[in-house]
Amino acid sequence: MRMRSIWIVALMLLGVVASGCISSSGGTQTSSTTVQLTGDFTKDAVSIGKVLEQKGINEVKFSAWGSGDPNSVMRVYGIVEAARRINRIWEKNGIKVKITITDTNYVASFQDAYKEYLSKQPLGQAGDFFVNSYAFLPTLADEGYILDITDYAKAYKSVIDDFYPSLIEASKYNGKLYGLPQDTEARPLYIRKDVAAKIGFNLNSLDEKVKNGEFTWTDVYYWAKKAKENGVKWGLIHRKGSAHPDLIQFIFAFGGKLYDENTGKLILDVPAVYKWLYVEWKFARDGLLPEDIMSWDWAKQIHPTVVEGRTLFDIGGTWYWTEWQTKQYYHGRGLKPEEVKEWFYYTLFPAGEKGDKPVTLSQPFVWMINSKAGQQNPKYDELKDIYHELAFLMVIKASDPDINAIHSVISAHLPVRKAAAELIKDEKWLNDLKNLNLDLDQTVKDNIRDIVQATVNPINAQFLADVSYMLEYTHLAPAHPKYPALADIFKEAVDKVLRNEMTPKDAVNYIIQKVKADPGLAKNVEIVGEIPKNWKFPQQ
């Protein structure tokens, strides 16, 4: 009796194991079907549609993951619209296949979105489309989590050539293309016009003085101090969080570097980093910048302080322009476009000192395609390449000038394509957008209606046109897998000098010590230069 029970249990276990083996190995050896892309979008979409139809597929499911400020929802709805446009092509050509976007996951923190993607991609649970900072692209490419689209892109050279070349470069890793730029931005130094007038700070042609390097951080300090002396709460507010990508502008503004193209290593530029930390320390010690700004609340402290005029300067981003209009930061309401225009002057991030150049910093967002894109669909092993090609076509479609231009106008990000930059200058098109009189998916219209109402107007379009020149001065943070680790250390150092836990010199030594303490990081970071002797800030 006992033996019989043992046999039954053993057989059951064997059955379970065997069924697992069968399901994991069976049917995986079929050869993959593919279509040669030609560069003619309609033709390629039709070819792919026909293959899918022949293979008995009538619905292709995809999901889109995006992140960012509340106005940047086109980062996911761009994919929804692309699906609709391809569906229409198929419909016109009698192909009975439909793309359905099953999930549009949009979260505020792009870092959190990245972490979620990182943990879920290996399990096959991440979005098929992932739009996020180019800074994460090297790691994702290195781990094989995103699709290499170099070969697909060859057929679409004319589209690729319409993107700004520096942004295409930012979408590459080790010479291969892993995504298409979705948006970019500049990070202006905002100046409150009313506060400036109160302290006699003449803003006429200030942007020219900044461009020429005449107006430096010493001048920023001088006016910030004057504002403080005249009863303004703060002289300067800046962004918080990881020192990437905002505050590293100081490194470039003091003529420093973060990456050596020849060695492929990150650079810890000691003199520039010292000057950056010294400026932060000096501003905080003189009460011009809150010493606990790195732990300030965005919605309750940072934005209200700026929009309510409790600071003279603010290091922000172009997207602030519309964010201030749509979020209730100003005494419980959003600003009117006229108010933003009337209250804020904007210019490049000034040169660190005489002889240096002004800068800005961009962090392009990139459409990336999951290397497992389409796996929730039938016959994935057989049709894997087809699904990947279709995903690529969707990204191409989502980069249509009008989709890109809509995103730019409503989120105050800069267009990534020349055709989109032209479109936002078109008054008729702007009017049509204002009335949502455009050929767009109803879901997309419903989801952007409120944002469009609040943001589409000539003032915002003019702002985008006015700040576009900043891209000529832009820098990008290094696309290096170890950069996030270095950025984390920068953030800690900034926080420590602001709180006066460390002097700038101690903080630089702290960074060096931290870099050296991690053998993995030390191998990838070259420490150059020394702490400058007798360097003073503000300069005379």
Binding site: Q111, K115, L118, S119, Q121, P122, F136, T139, E143, G144, Y145, S242, D292, M294, S295, W296, K300, Q301, P481, K482, Y483, P484, A485, A487, D488, E492, D495, R499, E501, Y510, Q513, K514, K516, A517, D518, P519, G520
Partner: protein
């Protein structure tokens, strides 16, 4: 032991043995295994077979020597576990004794009050203390002290290192842990024959004398249990700390214990280094095993577990 007895024992013990193997031993072996690989960014298929020997342990040792953050993490772990443990055990004991000497109804209500931190969702409970200790004038503590004229500017309590940060994490976790000891000790005290207490009262003993001479000696086993259990819990706990550090209420270096460091290294940073985190987790397990063993030895656990005379 005869064969039948062994078979019977195996039969009854097998579910527990399978559970221990599956949920305790296998994860431990896997953690040790991962610590010997270059596992990062969740890429199991790529790194699971890439052995790097003791490289991750070497990195930890190197960081221990050179990285000020890692040194602060270790120091914070020692201080946090040590002081919170004392707060948890002595606080639990004090509460149990205090409620032992009062009427049942108010005692139950009082105990329930102390269970609130344990019952509240971690995020809500942490948020309460976040706003209480907030370093700006929106913080309750700062606001009260400023209204009373004790301070003129808000103080970033959690950023005063190391003791400001340590005080907050100890305070917050201490309040959560104290209820566990309270429940165990209350239950133990209720098992003590009332006659002993009544007799002592008749003899004129005070509550303090009764506690010291009768009650505490009789709940020694429970004290040891709570001490060991809380030690291991504190060594591995991190949810409250994670939120307080994440929200920048407390300083990152002096608000992070080894358990939180393991979590952050594995899942919380730009580069997620699961190999290094696994090595730190192994280190944490070794500390836990040694610590638990020492506690049991010092408090003579074997003596307390002696078989009662007369059985068998």
């Amino acid at each position: 032991m005869n064969k039948d007895r062994l078979t019977a024992l195996s039969f009854f013990l097998s579910p527990m043995i399978v559970m221990v193997l599956l949920f305790y031993l296998v994860p431990l072996v896997m953690t040790i295994y991962i610590s010997l690989t270059q596992m990062r960014n969740w890429n199991v298929s790529k790194y699971l077979t890439e052995f790097v020997g003791f490289y991750n342990y070497h990195r930890l040792f190197y960081m221990f020597q050179h990285d000020p953050t890692f040194k602060a993490v270790l120091l914070t772990t020692v201080v946090f576990v040590g002081i919170t443990l004392i707060v948890n055990v002595l606080g639990g004991l004090a509460l149990a004794l205090a409620t032992f000497f009062i009427e049942d109804k108010p005692a139950s209500a009082f105990r329930l009050l102390w269970l609130l931190p344990r019952m509240s969702p971690i995020a809500v409970y942490s948020l309460v203390w976040y706003y209480f200790f907030h370093g700006s004038d929106i913080g309750t503590l700062n606001s009260i002290l400023m209204k009373l004229g004790i301070i003129s500017h808000p103080i970033a309590w959690g950023q005063i290192v190391p003791w400001g940060a340590w005080s907050i994490i100890i305070f917050v976790n201490g309040l959560v842990g104290v209820s566990f000891g309270m429940i165990v000790f209350t239950s133990a005290l209720n098992q003590i024959p009332k006659e002993l207490v009544i007799a002592a009262r008749v003899d004129g003993a005070s509550s303090w004398q009764i506690s010291r001479k009768i009650l505490i000696p009789m709940i020694r086993w429970h004290l040891l249990y709570v001490l060991t259990w809380q030690f291991l819990s504190l060594l591995t706990t991190y949810p409250h700390l994670f939120l307080l550090v994440q929200w920048d209420l407390v300083n990152g270096d002096y608000g992070t214990t080894l358990a939180l460091y393991v979590f952050n290294t594995a899942f919380g940073r730009g580069e997620q280094d699961q190999g290094l985190a696994a090595a730190a987790a192994v280190l944490l397990s070794i500390i836990g095993i040694i610590g638990g063993f020492v506690t049991l030895k010092v408090l003579q656990f074997e003596k307390m577990m002696k078989r009662p005379r007369g059985d068998f």
